[in-house]
Symmetry: C2
Subunit: 433 residues, 2 copies
């Protein structure tokens, strides 16, 4: 693996550090040395990148996504949530297969990488295809099979798929991890959560995912205390949404060290409500940010979520009540904490997951280091994103994907998207016949 030396760039090491000029040496996927602007470093054997007038930040962590759903972007924008889910998303998912899922995940991950996401936590069917797409794009990924219970046979089949993907992909290239993803307490009975907790005992380090209280109606469907009793919540859980968590729920989330993945655009677009994020933070809960899928967001850009998370809190509890540093922490240090991984900060010994912005762009004016965190959160820089490094490799550079035939991927994605729409059209026309 090549040794890389990044020179002359402004570096924002973390959510609470000042932005200064540093040089960064990368070897074997890790940040091995950070030197001051004028410190001596023996560059012998390193590939040198002069990043003058550029800014390096930690890569962004997307704590909740469904990359394959990139196919469904724009399919059901302005409808009720029931129409969105039952009449548009679920029927279309029936027409997917492994190969289609691969191209959907490739396209979703490439979009994430092009907006600075270096790690994505994904829950869906087709976990082999998604893991392969993560392997091929170079993204760091935490993949779980979405598990729901219809029949015992179906339940077991899904768990077996989850375990098969684990055997095949867990720890691939040091950057793909497989966990379990019981969809929600309203699609999985409590006794099945108990069974699953027993299984997860054999996968102690896995990061597991679930949807909790996305819609208000879920409060009528189950109690979080019943879920706690099954033992599932204590297994490194990332709970997406938690829009309608009340004070009792907050205590349960906190004492089980559950991470809450906040998906503000998706919540607003579906009219789900405003999650009490600041209350979670003040209660000591680890809060992170997610894009959710393109079917409900519709954008896979975590900085858009950073902006939206801040706006929602400011408009609800007051503009002074949430700070940009807290927001950046959600997609950096808190994301890393949820995954128990050395990412989300630029530090020696940490993984080399980095984003490079070109400061010679309207998006960075006033071009003053003290304002760079403000620009990141409140100006949503996107066109100035120049490069993305994951595990010490450039997976996006000069706005291109080295080693990926983008035209071919997008052509296949387009072809399969058309196929889904044709199949869906036929299905819709045959309804009730």
């Amino acid at each position: 693996m090549s040794k890389i030396f990044l020179k002359n760039a402004y570096v924002m090491k973390s959510s609470d550090s000042e932005t200064k000029k540093y040089n960064i040496a990368v070897n074997d996927g890790k940040i091995i040395k950070i030197t001051g602007e004028n410190d001596f470093f023996d560059e012998n054997g390193y590939e040198i990148f002069d990043l003058n007038n550029k800014l390096i930040t930690p890569g962004f962590i997307n704590s909740h996504s469904h990359a394959v759903m990139t196919y469904f972007r724009g399919n059901s924008d302005d409808t009720t949530i029931k129409e969105w889910l039952f009449d548009n998303m679920l029927p279309r998912e029936e027409f997917l297969n492994d190969e289609m899922a691969y191209y959907g995940a490739m396209t979703g991950f490439m979009e994430m990488i092009s907006s600075g996401i270096t790690t994505s936590v994904d829950m869906y069917m087709f976990t082999d295809s998604i893991s392969k797409a993560a392997a091929d794009t170079g993204i760091r990924a935490y993949v779980s099979r979405g598990l729901s219970y219809d029949t015992q046979e179906g339940w077991e089949r899904r768990i077996n798929e989850n375990i098969e993907t684990y055997k095949k992909y867990n720890n691939y290239d040091g950057r793909i991890k497989i966990g379990f993803g019981p969809h929600a307490p309203y699609t999985v009975p409590m006794e099945k959560f108990r069974e699953l907790s027993e299984i997860i005992n054999d996968y102690k380090e896995s990061i597991n995912q679930i949807h909790i209280y996305e819609g208000l109606w879920e409060k009528e469907s189950y109690k979080l205390s019943d879920l706690e009793e099954t033992g599932f919540l204590s297994h490194n859980v990332i709970a997406a949404h938690c829009v309608h968590a009340d004070d009792e729920d907050i205590k349960i989330l906190k004492r089980n060290n559950v991470t809450v993945a906040h998906n503000p655009s998706s919540n607003m677009k579906l009219g789900s409500g405003t999650a009490p994020i600041k209350k979670f933070i003040d209660s000591g809960i680890n809060v992170t940010l997610g894009t959710d899928g393109a079917g409900s967001n519709n954008s896979l850009n975590i900085l858009k979520e950073a902006h939206m998370a801040s706006m929602l809190q400011k408009n609800t509890i007051g503009p002074e009540k949430i700070k940009k540093e807290e927001i950046l922490k959600m997609c950096w240090e808190n994301g890393a904490h949820a995954l128990n991984e050395k990412i989300g900060e630029i530090r020696e010994g940490y993984m080399a997951d980095l984003v490079v912005f070109d400061l010679n762009d309207e998006e960075w004016l006033p071009n003053n280091t003290v304002k760079f965190k403000s620009h990141l959160v409140y100006n949503i820089p996107k066109k100035s994103l120049y490069a993305t490094m994951i595990n010490g490799k450039w997976v996006y550079f000069d706005r291109k994907f080295p080693g990926i035939n983008k035209e071919d991927i997008y052509e296949k994605f387009g072809k399969y998207c058309d196929k889904i729409e044709a199949d869906f059209y036929n299905y819709s026309n045959n309804l009730g016949k």
Copy 2:
């Protein structure tokens, strides 16, 4: 003026039209002919632009801005609105002069153009500088002097400045219009609104601007019915914000044909509240979108506001209650209606104000014409913005500003920004001494 023929592009003519391939002929600043994909057109004498795999939309209309405030982006993000205004914005404005205002407005307008804004409605001091910046960047601009009353001398001086700028710049290049901008009913006494209405009688076509009910506290300060009585509201008024307009206020706005400029990001960032936009629309009020200034937004991208406007309504009244077409209409047809100008649509005889997006980008996937309106509103395309035409001229092309020395502008902007911060630092240190 050169004759231009735009070929082979997908064209979205308006908020309610289907996207199809057309060719567009431009002459003397206007769209003179739109032909079908395979129709014959005599290209002789035209400069030809092949825009294959690109999308042309109408230029976006920004109905409320303060371009000079681009200097203040990131100065006071996470503070109360009083700290923001009295401790950060107003003191800094004291350090501006004409030349600084020119470079602030240049930078603000260039940022707007790079995100597809072709018309901006601006209220501020330094209207000569702002008009000159509009002239030099090529943007279509409606400029008003912000008028407040402290002393009779100050009031008259500001009105005279407004009138001087009118004489100098009104109708410049057919794209700069000067109107009057009484700041708000809490900074201008009602009898002064009466005087101003008399003056405006001599400027019957001017578009005039005001801030109405941005903060809830304003409801205690004045009654909209008193403002109506002064006659001002009947003079082609664009009222920014109207966050706290109640049912009686809505009737007043409607019967005076007042346009409401909605600035959702600014309202959220300052914690001002959620304007009842859908209610306005259903009441027959003309609703448009504005970025407000970079001091409170912090981004001058109208598509971000389109997205935000939709999200806020969906999260407040339901996801099915507002449609993407209504949102696009706000920054196209409704913006044009407020200004009484042939813009906001791609039609023969209309001004050639156009935006070109490169469809070969992640931002446009799935790359399907029926989804293009969804992508515009819900995916906020920005890095794929390829070119902007105003009044038949390319003011931004291939992501560059032809005829503008961008480096020089941004260098002067940076220098003056540093000067403001140094002056502000000295001022802050001397407070209370």
